[in-house]
């Protein structure tokens, strides 16, 4: 089975979210990276951009397909994981750690209520 850390929240589009005050770190879940396999390119968001939940903010590409990353939370992009430009496969090897994609300052913290807990996400995937 795929790894689903308990301390994270999840979107129905298979992003994970780690909340730290009004800042969230976002990446794609183990399930999502396994579905994609072989990530060969990550199109990162622009630092400073203001985005709304549901916007496509990044693109994760395998040999075969390009998949949009939809931000589950609205706000300002604070930081992106530049390391993915050199080593996009980090999304596969360490999706919840070195494979993080961006950090966002939450504009509407209430949006986190729409996210799934680890156990709900596990049922969602099965």
């Amino acid at each position: 089975m795929h790894d689903v850390p308990q301390n994270l929240l999840y979107s129905r589009d298979h992003e994970w979210v780690e909340i730290d005050g009004d800042i969230a770190t976002v990446g794609i879940s183990d399930h999502a990276q396994a579905e994609l396999s072989d990530v060969v390119f990550v199109d990162l968001p622009e630092v400073g951009a203001t985005v709304s939940s549901g916007d496509s903010v990044a693109v994760v590409e395998s040999v075969k397909a390009a998949s949009d990353v939809y931000t589950p939370l609205s706000g300002e992009i604070l930081e992106v994981n530049e390391e993915l430009s050199n080593d996009p496969a980090l999304v596969n090897s360490d999706p919840y750690g070195a494979g993080w994609i961006y950090k966002i300052r939450l504009e509407m913290p209430g949006e986190t209520d729409d996210l799934l807990s680890a156990s709900d996400y596990e049922s969602f995937c099965s």
Binding site: E35, S37, D38, V40, F41, D43, V59, E61, S62, V63, K64, A66, S85
Partner: protein
């Protein structure tokens, strides 16, 4: 196309058992990958892989006039074939556009085995039937066979494990083997640029043969690797790089057109050959890292106007670089022409290069 119309090959249950990710392709439910496209791709370049090609179509054309009839329908010259030999050929419309590309084998004096693209079985058959003459028999055997492509430098070892007393036919050759009273076809060809053979057996025996080839050392590979392997070699994919609106001369496949024979579309090709085609299918390579090129992405001159769109594109697993093909106006089709590929509004520099992308060694 709804799910109920999607067909499965006789091998589908085995793909699922082997852990394949299944996707719809050309109306068929097919394995796109097992362990990963890069892994499967490299296995075929370095060792040996096995692909399900049961979705492809097989026709048998026979009769004393079969050769003459086929020469009116297909671009290559059938009279060059001895018994047991095969050739790549194309079937064109009256405008010289490609209906399908195919491989044809002469397996008896007056009988031919024709392997066509999965997506084109019905259309090809209808076109051939429309032009059929009394003295020629045309049979569609597509559902009777399971097909496997065993590809890679170790393919001869794999073959030898299953058929210790038989040698593979020579390149482009076909051989009929009879095992336990059943006919099997072995064709020394492929779509990867590696040594390999295609193997056709009765549909009911497909799973057993796939299992045997896997046990003999061939790694199951999906359509994802099949596509990246063929694109590294600049082999065209019908529906992407070939179409009824493009001729073989424009596609750079003039070598497979015997312009001294009179097939449908030949006059258009002769004119293009004499005057030069207005567009050419070229190989395009990124000059740096970038988002993988994909079909339909727009091609620009550097800082300039859009001149075309990609017909195919992928990140080459061997070169870890974007590679693609596109029809460009003849003026821009020269090797060395600088281009930009538009990926979601970002432009990535690229250049027209010599075919193929991948060269051994």
């Amino acid at each position: 196309m709804t799910d109920s119309e999607i067909k499965s090959t006789p091998l589908a249950p085995k793909h699922v058992e082997l852990g394949a990710k299944m996707v719809p392709f050309a109306g068929w439910n097919m394995p796109v990958q097992y362990t990963g496209i890069i892994d499967e791709h490299k296995t075929v370049r370095e060792h040996c892989g096995v692909f399900d090609i049961s979705h492809m179509g097989q026709f048998i054309v026979s009769g004393t006039q079969a050769a003459a009839w086929l020469n009116q329908l297909l671009t290559n010259d059938i009279n060059k074939l001895d018994i047991g030999q095969g050739q790549y050929s194309m079937m064109l419309n009256e405008r010289g556009g490609v209906i399908d590309d195919l491989i044809l084998y002469r397996f008896e004096e007056t009988s031919y085995f024709v392997v066509v693209n999965a997506s084109m079985i019905d259309e090809d058959y209808a076109w051939m039937e429309k032009h059929l003459v009394d003295s020629v028999s045309l049979e569609n055997h597509s559902d009777k066979y399971a097909g496997l492509a065993i590809q890679g430098p170790e393919c001869q070892d794999v073959f030898a494990k299953l058929f210790p007393n038989i040698t593979l036919p020579p390149r482009n050759g076909i051989a009929r083997l009879t095992v336990e009273g059943k006919d099997l076809w072995v064709c020394r060809t492929g779509y990867t640029g590696e040594d390999g053979f295609e193997f056709f057996c009765p549909a009911v025996d497909g799973i057993e043969w796939l299992t045997s080839f896997v046990q003999a050392g061939a790694k199951p590979c999906g359509l994802g690797a099949r596509d990246s392997l063929r694109l590294e070699m600049c082999y065209p994919l019908n529906g992407s790089d070939l179409s009824p609106e493009k001729t073989p001369i424009e596609a750079g496949l003039g070598f497979f057109c015997a312009l001294d024979t009179d097939f449908i579309g030949a006059d258009v090709l002769r004119e293009q050959k004499a005057n030069g085609p207005k567009q050419r299918l070229v190989a395009i390579e990124y000059t740096d890292k970038g988002a993988p090129p994909r079909a339909h992405y727009k091609v620009h001159l550097p800082g300039g106007p859009e001149i075309s769109e990609l017909s195919s594109g992928v990140l080459s697993p061997c070169m870890m670089k974007g590679i693609a093909m596109a029809y460009l106006p003849a003026d821009y089709a020269k090797v060395g022409t600088e281009l930009e590929i538009d990926v979601r509004g970002k432009k990535f520099p690229a250049v027209v290069v010599k075919k193929p992308f991948y060269k051994k060694g």
